[in-house]
Each structure stands twice: as structure tokens, then as C-alpha cells.
């Protein structure tokens, strides 16, 4: 076995990608910046909901409800200029209106119930869902406290693994995956097409070079760059967002290494079927966007129709997210982690096989 070619390739790739100061920044600083910016900006907690209440004066139950709602920090009082609940939402002054028409809530009896109407603006459906559940939760809480007969049943909720339900604990691991994907898939997919466009591929192929030498020569530098990067982004996640990383670092490294291997393989597979850098770029995005959307980060995999679930299951990012959450928050269940690592590895091996089969050492 002669390693000269492989060594020469790796040296050349590193020289090319690390010499350019712009590229240095793009490779190392941009991911950290993205992580920080997205980590802070992508926050799906619903806050500052403008709430308007239309009720009889001195309704103590509603007063209590309002106090609780405002104290929760989710709601603020809407400034309503009109006395019409619908108009207050139409004008955008309020996002939710609580309407009790005829009498006070406390006057309700079994024979004469008091209807409470809740109007919610669903212009933003995600926000509306959150508002609905918040209002109902606070109303339930207020009303059960009011009705002594229901004290027989006590509900005690304890939220495990992420007690404060920090969104960043959920988002950051996925963001690390996205950043790795961007570097590996995008950079690697350009690897061969850039040479093809510049004509340097012809020179490379005019030497008696083996397939594995050229494929590994391109794969190894991307893998190492992505490895350094994932270490940096994980550290940033821990330092900036206080992600706990409760699981073993060895397991975490294993997962990251497998995921990087697979995404590099996908990048190379895309590279072998693209003729131009443009095609490679489009091919990468054709993979990246569905991979992102179907990874369970934005929409839960459980809610997808069965045929979409299939795509979700052959998506390495889905499995990466499963494992990262498991390791970071639950401490890492070895069997669970190994199963999903196995799936990611399988996808990687298939991609590598396809890349290897498609790559030709002649120009035919």
C-alpha cells in the first residue's frame, strides 16, 4: 500500500481551504456565529400575549384569573379602545379576548351555567395553539381552586430532563447537526465539481490513481474540518446556552463521528453525479431542506403521514436528533444510542458505496 497520493491529496486540500482568510472565517467563525444567533432567535416560547377581558365589574373569579395570567409572564394587558371583543381582535389591539356576558362567574349554578367565550386570533396558528393551551390551563387552575368539591383529586405535574422547558435544549443539538451538514455536504459536494470545472480533474485522472485514493483524499479533509467544527459548536452550546451534556463524552464523540462520516459520504455521492458546482449546490440543498424539515425539529415525526415517516426514518438527521437529545438530556441510553448510530452508519455506508460505484477514473 502506497500512501503518497492520499497524503498529497490531504495536504493540498488543507492548503487550499485553510490558506484563504475568508474561507478560514467561513469555516470556523460562521458556524459559531450561526449557533449563537439561531440559538437566541429561534425561540418558540410564546410570550407577551395581548389579552383583553370583557366581564361584569368585580367578578372575583375573573379577577383572580387575570392576576394569575399576568403573573405567569406569558400575558400582558391589551389596551382596548372599543367595547367590542371582536373589534379588539380585528384591530390587532388584542390577540385573545375573554368574554363573559350576562353575569359573574361565581354566580354559576348547575341549573344556570355561565358561558365563557374565548376569542383567539389564529393569524399565526402556532401562536394561537400556544395561547389556547395557556388560557385553558390558567382557567382550569383558577376554577378548580374555586370549586371545593374537586380538591379530592390533586394533579401534580413534574417535568423531567428539561424542567424549565428551555427551548434551546431542544434546538441547539439540532443546530449542531445542521451546521455539520452544511459544512460536510456542501463543501464536499463541491469537491469534485470544482476540479471538473477548473479542468484539474483531467490532470488528476491522467495519473494512474486509484478510486479510493481520490475519494478518501477528498473525504478525509472534510471529515477533519467538520470534527473540529463540531467540537467548537458543542463547546459554544455548553458555554453560551448552558446545555447540560449529561451523557458520556465518548458516546457523544461516537455519534458526532458517525454523523460526520455519513454526511461526508452523502456530499461525495452528490459530487460524483454532478457535473458543475451549480448542480452540486442544488443537489446539496435538495438533500438539506427535506432533511431539515423531516428531522422532527420543526414537526414531530409522530404526526407525519406514514409515507412521510419513511423519509423521516431514512434521514440521518432524524436519528441524530433522537440521539443527541437522549445523550444531552437523559444521559444516554446505550442501547437506544447504538441502534440509531447503526442506522446513521448504514446510510453512510450505502452513500459511500454509491459514490464509489459512480466515480470513474476515465472521462467516459
Amino acid at each position: 500500500m502506497n500512501w503518497k497520493t492520499l497524503r498529497g491529496f490531504i495536504k493540498k486540500e488543507f492548503r487550499q481551504s485553510l490558506r484563504d482568510p475568508v474561507m478560514q472565517r467561513l469555516i470556523f467563525l460562521a458556524p459559531m456565529l450561526q449557533l449563537t444567533v439561531f440559538g437566541f432567535a429561534l425561540n418558540n416560547e410564546t410570550r407577551d400575549i395581548r389579552m383583553a377581558i370583557f366581564s361584569k365589574p368585580n367578578d372575583t373569579v375573573i379577577q383572580r384569573f387575570q392576576d394569575k395570567a399576568l403573573a405567569s409572564g406569558w400575558f400582558i394587558k391589551a389596551n382596548v379602545s372599543e367595547n367590542d371583543p371582536f373589534m379588539s381582535i380585528q384591530s390587532g389591539e388584542a390577540e385573545v379576548a375573554i368574554v363573559i356576558k350576562d353575569k359573574k362567574v361565581e354566580a354559576a349554578t348547575l341549573l344556570e351555567p355561565v358561558p365563557i367565550q374565548i376569542l383567539i386570533s389564529a393569524v399565526n396558528s402556532l401562536r394561537a395553539q400556544a395561547i389556547e393551551s395557556y388560557v385553558q390551563a390558567i382557567l382550569n387552575d383558577t376554577l378548580t381552586g374555586n370549586n371545593s368539591s374537586q380538591k379530592l383529586i390533586q394533579i401534580e405535574t413534574k417535568i423531567l430532563y428539561n424542567p424549565r422547558m428551555e427551548t434551546s435544549y431542544f434546538l441547539i443539538p439540532a443546530l449542531i447537526g445542521i451546521i455539520i451538514c452544511l459544512i460536510t455536504v456542501l463543501l464536499t459536494s463541491m469537491a469534485f465539481t470544482r476540479e471538473r470545472e477548473a479542468g484539474t480533474m483531467e490532470t488528476i485522472l491522467s495519473a494512474p490513481i486509484q478510486k479510493w485514493e481520490i475519494i478518501l483524499g477528498k473525504a478525509i479533509p472534510s471529515t477533519l474540518l467538520a470534527a473540529v467544527n463540531s467540537f467548537l459548536t458543542c463547546s459554544a452550546g455548553a458555554v453560551v446556552f448552558g446545555i447540560p451534556f449529561t451523557g458520556s463524552l465518548f458516546l457523544l464523540s461516537l455519534v458526532l463521528a458517525t454523523f460526520i462520516f455519513t454526511t461526508v459520504a452523502i456530499g461525495i455521492a452528490i459530487s460524483t453525479i454532478s457535473q458543475t458546482q451549480q448542480q452540486a449546490m442544488m443537489g446539496s440543498f435538495l438533500f438539506l431542506f427535506p432533511a431539515l424539515l423531516l428531522s422532527g425539529l420543526m414537526f414531530p415525526v409522530e404526526n407525519m403521514p406514514p409515507f412521510m415517516k419513511v423519509f423521516s426514518e431514512i434521514n440521518p438527521m432524524t436519528h441524530f436528533n433522537y440521539i443527541m437529545r437522549n445523550i444531552i438530556l437523559k444521559g444516554g441510553d446505550l442501547e437506544f444510542v447504538l441502534i440509531h448510530v447503526g442506522v446513521i452508519l448504514g446510510i453512510g455506508i450505502i452513500s459511500f458505496y454509491l459514490a464509489f460505484r459512480n466515480f470513474k477514473t476515465t472521462l467516459n
Partner: protein, 310 residues
């Protein structure tokens, strides 16, 4: 043939087909060791495709190619070892230095460090490279880049060197310099296979194959090509008055005239037979000043390649 052992390149009935299109259509020729062999033809004539097959870069559809006694096998690795190839674009990495580019080429060829250093020094001396090895390729002029690309293709000391339009887009001075290097290589016993558009520089070749539509339509020494195509020479005619439409038509139809073509501000006339000029000169001399000239390769090219397209 008994002299096959002395052949650097042997091509027999080579066919390269892309779908229905025959890029190279049944060509056969051989190149001797130490010969400068030129491939001449318009764009799309099949020059680059032929070269790529002989270098092991492209699998032939049919036919046989052998270089230094090796026949194209598998993925062409056996051929690739014997040849050096320099493509049309002087493929070096702009963002690497001269030394780094050469180092990469050496690693592609799996050269030992000592051997590489020795060859590098020898070849940079050979091209009289006077810049720093640490200069970036992007900072070099076209002519120097081309010479460094030549060094890269010669690092592993190949028996045959293929140069695909090596002088496209460089200054005339650099072209002349480059051809003196090619000459020097041949003097050292290397076989040089070169394609070109430029008629004047192909004159340096020992033999020339003219390609058109994937076929070799003529193969000879430059001198042989000229004398076989223009056995009775060429007359350069300069019109005395502007309007010559009538006589132009008469000359083109005449059975004594092989060809009559505009050539810049002049016309080139090739007589058909030994005594043709004597017969038609009375018709010509009142209207033109005439001068007998030696035919150039350009005349050959126009007659063989472009003439047949009409």
C-alpha cells in the same frame, strides 16, 4: 511491421463513439520514438478525443491503442504510467504555489521525495524558471504558467508527452519559447505529441496528421503535405483594379486551375497541371501582379479541411 518496437505510439482502427456521434472514426497511425507529431484540425475534429484515449483518460469504443508497447487495459493505468499529459487549460491550482503544485503532481505519480526534488530542480532549470518556487500560480503570466504545467507533466519522466493545444492564449514570444522547449525534449529522445490551431507553429512538427470530422484526411511531413497538395506551387495574385468578379468566376471554372482562394488582401492560385500557368497567365497578368510563392501549411489546411466543407 518489424519496426513496431521502435514505435512510441501505435493506433489501429480507433473508434470513439458518444451515443450516435462518432467523435473519432476508425483512425490508424503510428508515431516514432523521438518524433514531434502534430495533430491539426478545426474544433470538434476529434483531436482532443484521440489524445485522451491515447493517454488512458477515455475508453475507446473499438480499436487498439498502445503506448511504448502497452495496450489500453482496464482503466488505462498501464498507459497513464508511460505518458505525460498537459491539457488545454494548463491545469494548475491558482491558489497554490509553484512548489506546492509540483508536490501535488509528484504525489499523484507516487514519486519518491529525493527523485522528485532532483527532477524538479532539473526541469525548472530546463525551462529556465527564474521566479521563486514560492510564488503563487495566479501571479504568473500565461506563458510561465504554461511552462510550469509542462514541468508538472514531465515530473515522472514519461516516454511520451501529450500537449493538447499547449500554446492557446499565450503571447507569440512565449509560444516561440515553448516550441524551443518542445524541440529540446525531442532532442533528448522524448516523443512529443501535440495538437494546435496555429499553422505557423505546426511547421516545427516532424509529421502532421490532419483531422476532419473524426478522420485523418492527410498524414505527412510538412514538406510532403505541401508538395503533394500543391505540386505546381502557388501564385500570389494582387488585383490591380478593385472589381475582378468576372475573372474570378472564369478562373474558378477553368480546367487549368486547381484552386483560387482569397487570402487576406491577395489571392492564392494553384495551377492544376505542369503547364497550366503558361496557359492562363496571359489572362491573369493584365489584371493582377503575380508572384510565385511556397505554399504554407495554412494553404494546405484551407484546401484540405475548409475546402471540403464547402
Amino acid at each position: 511491421m518489424s519496426s513496431d518496437a521502435n514505435k512510441a505510439v501505435l493506433v489501429s482502427h480507433l473508434l470513439v463513439q458518444f451515443g450516435e456521434f462518432k467523435a473519432v472514426n476508425d483512425i490508424s497511425f503510428s508515431v516514432d520514438k523521438g518524433e514531434i507529431f502534430g495533430f491539426l484540425g478545426a474544433n470538434g475534429a476529434g483531436k482532443t478525443t484521440s489524445i485522451r484515449v491515447i493517454c488512458g483518460l477515455l475508453k475507446p469504443t473499438a480499436g487498439e491503442v498502445s503506448v511504448g508497447g502497452e495496450v489500453f487495459k482496464g482503466n488505462g493505468d498501464n498507459l497513464k504510467k508511460k505518458v505525460g499529459y498537459m491539457s488545454q487549460k494548463f491545469t494548475l491550482y491558482d491558489d497554490l504555489t509553484v512548489a506546492e503544485n509540483l508536490e501535488f503532481t509528484a504525489s499523484l505519480r507516487k514519486l519518491d521525495q529525493d527523485y522528485f526534488e532532483e527532477r524538479k530542480k532539473y526541469l525548472l532549470d530546463f525551462i529556465q524558471f527564474e521566479y521563486s518556487e514560492k510564488s503563487f500560480v495566479r501571479d504568473l503570466s500565461g506563458g510561465i504558467k504554461q511552462q510550469v504545467a509542462l514541468v508538472a507533466s514531465l515530473l515522472h519522466d514519461p516516454e511520451v508527452i501529450f500537449l493538447d493545444e499547449p500554446t492557446a492564449g499565450v503571447t507569440p514570444v512565449s509560444r516561440a519559447l515553448f516550441w524551443s522547449l518542445i524541440q529540446k525534449l525531442a532532442d533528448h529522445g522524448k516523443t512529443v505529441f501535440v495538437t494546435s490551431h496555429y499553422m505557423d507553429e505546426v511547421e516545427h512538427c516532424h509529421r502532421i496528421a490532419l483531422m476532419r470530422g473524426g478522420e485523418i484526411i492527410a498524414l505527412d511531413t510538412p514538406k510532403g503535405l505541401k508538395s503533394s497538395q500543391f505540386p505546381y506551387g502557388i501564385y500570389q495574385l494582387t488585383a490591380k483594379a478593385e472589381d475582378i468578379t468576372d475573372i474570378e468566376k472564369a478562373l474558378q471554372r477553368s480546367s487549368e486551375v486547381e484552386s483560387f482562394q482569397p487570402h487576406g488582401i491577395h489571392y492564392h492560385l494553384a495551377p492544376k497541371k505542369d503547364n497550366s500557368w503558361e496557359k492562363i497567365s496571359p489572362l491573369i497578368l493584365p489584371r493582377f501582379t503575380a508572384k510565385k510563392i511556397r505554399p504554407s501549411l495554412e494553404d494546405v489546411f484551407i484546401k484540405l479541411v475548409e475546402g471540403k466543407n464547402r
